[in-house]
Each structure stands twice: as structure tokens, then as C-alpha cells.
């Protein structure tokens, strides 16, 4: 189960499991965001490499246009994935409390 929706005020809320089967839906949604965007990951349990590709493509597009994608509420497993991917150098990441 995966959902992604607007959280208002430049926020996007992702919940569930962003796997290879859900990557296209996530990309379609994120292709529509602009500017400074915070992805609320508090409910995001899991991300695969397909999901990482979605985030990277979105970040490249936003940064090229003067914006950026920020990742907030990131759990421990996702933090490990982001660090091992080098995404901690490409994204501002706020861990879950």
C-alpha cells in the first residue's frame, strides 16, 4: 500500500511502501510539484531503489529550476538507505524524532 498526496504549504505526504510497483505513480505525482517542497516521510515505511530514482529525478528537476526537495520525518531504515546511496549529500534530510 502506498499513497502520496499534497499536505498543503509546499508539503507532500507519502505513506506506505514506495517499491518498484508504485514508483510510476509517485513519479507522476512529483512531476507536478514546483519550488521548495518538503516530502513528509513520517508514514513512509520503505523505499526501494526504484523509489530512490523517483526522488533523484525530482530533485534534479527542482534544483535546476531554483527549488529543492527536502525529506522530513525519515525513519532509521530510510536514513541508512539514503546515506549508503549518497543521498545525504544531495538532499536536506530531517530524521524522525
Amino acid at each position: 500500500m502506498f499513497t502520496i498526496e499534497s499536505g498543503g504549504e509546499g508539503a507532500v505526504v507519502a505513506r506506505g511502501r514506495l517499491d518498484a510497483a508504485q514508483a510510476a505513480a509517485a513519479q507522476t505525482f512529483l512531476d507536478g510539484v514546483q519550488g521548495m517542497v518538503t516530502l513528509d516521510c513520517r508514514g513512509l515505511e520503505y523505499i526501494s531503489s526504484a523509489g530512490l530514482g523517483v526522488l533523484l529525478k525530482t530533485q534534479k528537476r527542482l534544483v535546476a529550476a531554483g527549488g529543492k526537495l527536502r525529506l522530513a520525518g525519515v525513519n532509521r531504515h530510510l536514513q541508512d538507505i539514503f546515506v549508503y546511496s549518497g543521498f545525504d549529500q544531495l538532499f536536506e534530510i530531517e530524521p524522525a524524532p
Binding site: A21, S48, S49, L52, G53, Q59, L90
Partner: protein, 155 residues
């Protein structure tokens, strides 16, 4: 005890694989804290099999076995050409954003999340077998990567 099930070679099988893994963990008494890394490795390896061996119509068999302090998982792919996942190069994660390209991270990541990953190809029956282990504690694979070496790889 080993739990085993076969899955159709389609991305649509991913939810059923996650469900099977969770059931197997519960039945075998495996710590669910290990599940995220196991789910990640299973998805990457399974989707690789689906993407890179489209000529096969055979299901992919997954076996989950509880071991001391963790779990061992084997994926068997039938009627395929060899593809040694342990030989794939690491991604260059030091590149700046503008030079990074989506893709190529899956095998790079599972080397860091797992204790070991082994690949075996049985040419006579055109069968690929990948076995990986995940236990508690600092994994040899992660230590090896941190020291600049590779994972615990056996051909």
C-alpha cells in the same frame, strides 16, 4: 525449518512477496527488525530477475530459513542465462547532483545492508541461485565496504 513459495515473474508479485516474508519471519521466530533490509534485498534481486531474464516464463522460488541471530534467503530463477549479481560494480555516490542518474543503486545498496550474498549458476539446468544472509550486529559486508573491500562473495 524453511518456508518456500514460488512467485510469478512480475512486479505485481511484490506485495505477495512482502506478505510471505512477514509470515515466514513470524513462523520461524525471526526478529522483524531485520525485515526492512531483507525486503529491500528481495525486491532488488527479484525485480532484477524479472527485468533481465524476460525470456523465462518460470516462477521464481523464494526460500526463507531462520538461522542463529538472523535469516538466510535463497532465490532460484529457472531457465535463465547467468547473471552474477555479486560481480556488478558499485555506484559512484560521490558524484554531484547534476551528474547523478537514476538507477544502479540496488546491488550497491544490498551489499551494504546484508551480511553476505552468494551467487551460483547451474549451467546444466540453466538455473541461477542467489543466497543472502542478514543477522544482527555489524555485517561483514558493511565492514568490508567501509574498509574499501567487497562483500563476502563466493562464486
Amino acid at each position: 525449518m524453511t518456508a518456500a513459495r514460488s512467485f510469478a515473474r512480475s512486479f505485481d508479485a511484490l506485495p505477495a512477496i512482502v506478505e510471505f516474508t512477514a509470515e515466514s519471519f513470524a513462523r520461524e521466530g525471526i526478529d522483524p527488525a531485520l525485515a526492512p533490509a531483507v525486503d529491500f534485498a528481495l525486491e532488488e534481486l527479484f525485480t532484477n530477475m524479472v527485468k533481465y531474464s524476460p525470456e523465462s516464463v518460470a516462477d521464481v522460488r523464494i526460500e526463507v530459513t531462520g538461522i542463529a541471530g538472523g535469516v538466510e534467503v535463497t532465490l532460484t530463477d529457472y531457465d535463465v542465462e547467468p547473471f552474477d549479481v555479486t560481480a556488478a560494480p558499485d555506484a559512484d555516490i560521490s558524484l554531484p547532483l547534476e551528474a547523478r542518474r537514476p538507477g544502479g543503486l540496488g546491488l550497491h545498496l544490498i551489499r551494504r545492508l546484508l551480511d553476505s550474498i552468494d551467487y551460483e549458476y547451474l549451467r546444466e539446468v540453466r538455473q541461477s541461485r542467489i543466497t543472502f544472509r542478514k543477522t544482527h550486529g555489524e555485517s561483514p559486508a558493511r565492514q568490508g565496504v567501509a574498509e574499501g573491500g567487497g562483500p563476502d562473495v563466493h562464486d
